[in-house]
Amino acid sequence: MNRLAIELPGLSLKNPIMPASGCFGFGKEYSQFYDLSELGAIMIKATTKEARFGNPTPRVAETSSGMLNAIGLQNPGLDHVMANELPWLTQFDVPIIANVAGSTLEDYIDVARVISTAENVKALELNISCPNVKDGGIAFGTDPKTARELTARVKEVSEVPVYVKLSPNVTSITEMALAVEEGGADGLTMINTLVGMRLDRKTGNPIIANKTGGLSGPAIKPVAIRMVYEVSQRTALPIIAMGGVQDSYDVVDYLSAGASAVAVGTQNFVDPFACPAIIEDLSKIVKEWELEHILDLKGRSWGKHGKTANHRA
């Protein structure tokens, strides 16, 4: 038995580790560092119907133990992704989770219908939480009703299971989770970035051209852990968690909080070898801690509430 393997709706993962959307492009760059088949899955960069240049630069700014970004969903558009990026990725033995973004319900539906037919796309991730473009779906991500509706409509057209990526910039993320569960979501991914801002000390102007950006990295981990802890105890949906993962112990934390798999975002920039290093360390932890399976850790933090379904392969 592979003690790291995990079965989630649509996804047979060799291990619970995958790069987070937007932090790994479409895989090409990181393929110079290691064999992408080592990964549990790959969450590719948000794809929209048309090609987008995204926001003006500067697009990133560093903050204490974190970074802000406002890339603005730059991507080559659905057709190009279908014709080039996804076929290129078929050389690797790794399931692809396609991050889908748009401005209107129709955008999401159109992209989902097409991209879910690609042979290596095993699940969709509905990005209803991008804080960096006015028309980037954040409206869907902050209103439970709209989110439920969007999920239901995408489910109708998708050939593969649908995960919904939740925004932390809400009063109750649990309410959002329950809404998309009702809408028929197969899983949750969380969290997207927190909206933040940094000013230039001298001029007082925002450093990022878009003014605000999304905060990621270790700074947000306590917020993300809390949200995973809350949501995982309230829904039956599996959670792919993310936010500030730097090493295998952070992964242990997310599983303990109730996640079933974990994505690595910003840390890829800090260390391009982060994902395979974490996977290797997880194997060691499983051995040293004498776990039958890594998901023995799932929900450890819940205390006496008992366990929900796990997702061991």
Binding site: G22, C23, F24, G25, K28, E29, Y30, Q32, F33, K45, A51, R52, F53, G54, T57, P58, R59, V60, A61, E62, S64, S65, G66, M67, N69, I71, Q74, P76, R201, G217, P218, A219, Q246, T266, N268, F269, V270, D271, P272, F273
Partner: protein, 261 residues
């Protein structure tokens, strides 16, 4: 091949106001091919500062497996200020070499190259100049700085070829900008290479529009390897508005008139 390596600090010293010279040793040096490439430096382990810092390669010493970079400490509490406190014997984690540098074989022996640097854009021109002169290309350096106290590497450049310094306040060399020096030059330039602040790059590109040239761009970076799309720039003459180049992996050096500076 891009590598990641803990490299040993061989020497580390201040050479001008806020300007430090850092020499690192490690086999990663062997991967460095062209002048103008950069490295991405992780200043401390852990989460603070979180991101790597892009710093140009200033000179390469293959024999001793070491290379030198020059950097400016940008303020108290900045990553570079922490870097400046690390002592000989400690290691610094380096990712590199990154990006595409200046091509050195476009010019023939006897031709004349103009190298124009501004401020902390000067360092990559040093390895470039060494390569060009070793091929017998004649080099002219024009180096612009704010003021006398931040001038560095005057002797080093002078040893390789004619060197003009301009300072904005006139406290050293010509008063004014590098373009003021270009105006006064009375030689035929066969090619130019420039690195520095964007306004300078634009001015140089315009002034030397008849000459083939290479421009090294700067942009805030996330990954440094082409994955995050933090560092993009527009492409000249693109009507769609969606064409772009990534400074980190398509650049940082571009042929003139290719990207929008």
């Amino acid at each position: 091949m891009i590598q990641k390596q803990d490299m040993i600090i061989v020497s580390h010293k201040q050479i001008a106001d806020h300007i430090f010279e850092l020499t690192l040793r490690g086999s990663l040096t062997n991967e460095m091919t062209s002048p103008g490439q950069f490295v991405h430096v992780k200043i401390m382990n852990g989460s603070e500062p979180l991101l790597r810092r892009p710093i140009s390669i200033c000179s390469i010493d293959r024999e001793n497996e070491q290379f030198t970079m020059l950097y400016r400490v940008s303020g108290s509490g900045s990553g570079t200020s922490t870097l400046s406190q690390l002592m000989k014997g400690f290691t610094v984690n380096v990712l590199g070499p990154l990006g595409n540098g200046f091509p050195v074989d476009e010019l023939e022996e006897g031709q004349t190259a103009l190298l124009v640097g501004g401020g902390i854009g000067v360092p990559p021109l040093y390895e470039l100049s060494k390569r060009l002169t070793s091929r017998g290309v004649k080099v002219i350096h024009i180096l612009g700085f704010q003021e006398q106290k931040v001038v560095f590497y005057k002797e080093e450049f002078t040893a390789l070829g004619e060197t003009y310094i301009a300072t904005v306040d006139g406290s050293f060399g010509t008063k004014g900008f590098v373009t003021d020096v270009i105006d006064k030059l009375d030689v035929t330039i066969d090619g130019y290479y420039t690195c520095g602040p964007a306004p300078m790059l634009r001015a140089v590109e315009q002034k030397l529009s008849g000459v083939d040239g290479y421009i090294s761009m700067e942009q805030r970076m996330g990954c440094g390897v082409g994955a995050c799309l933090a560092c993009v720039c527009h492409v000249q003459g693109d009507d769609t508005g969606t064409a772009y180049k990534k400074v980190c992996s398509d650049g940082p050096v571009f042929k003139s008139k290719v990207v929008v500076v």
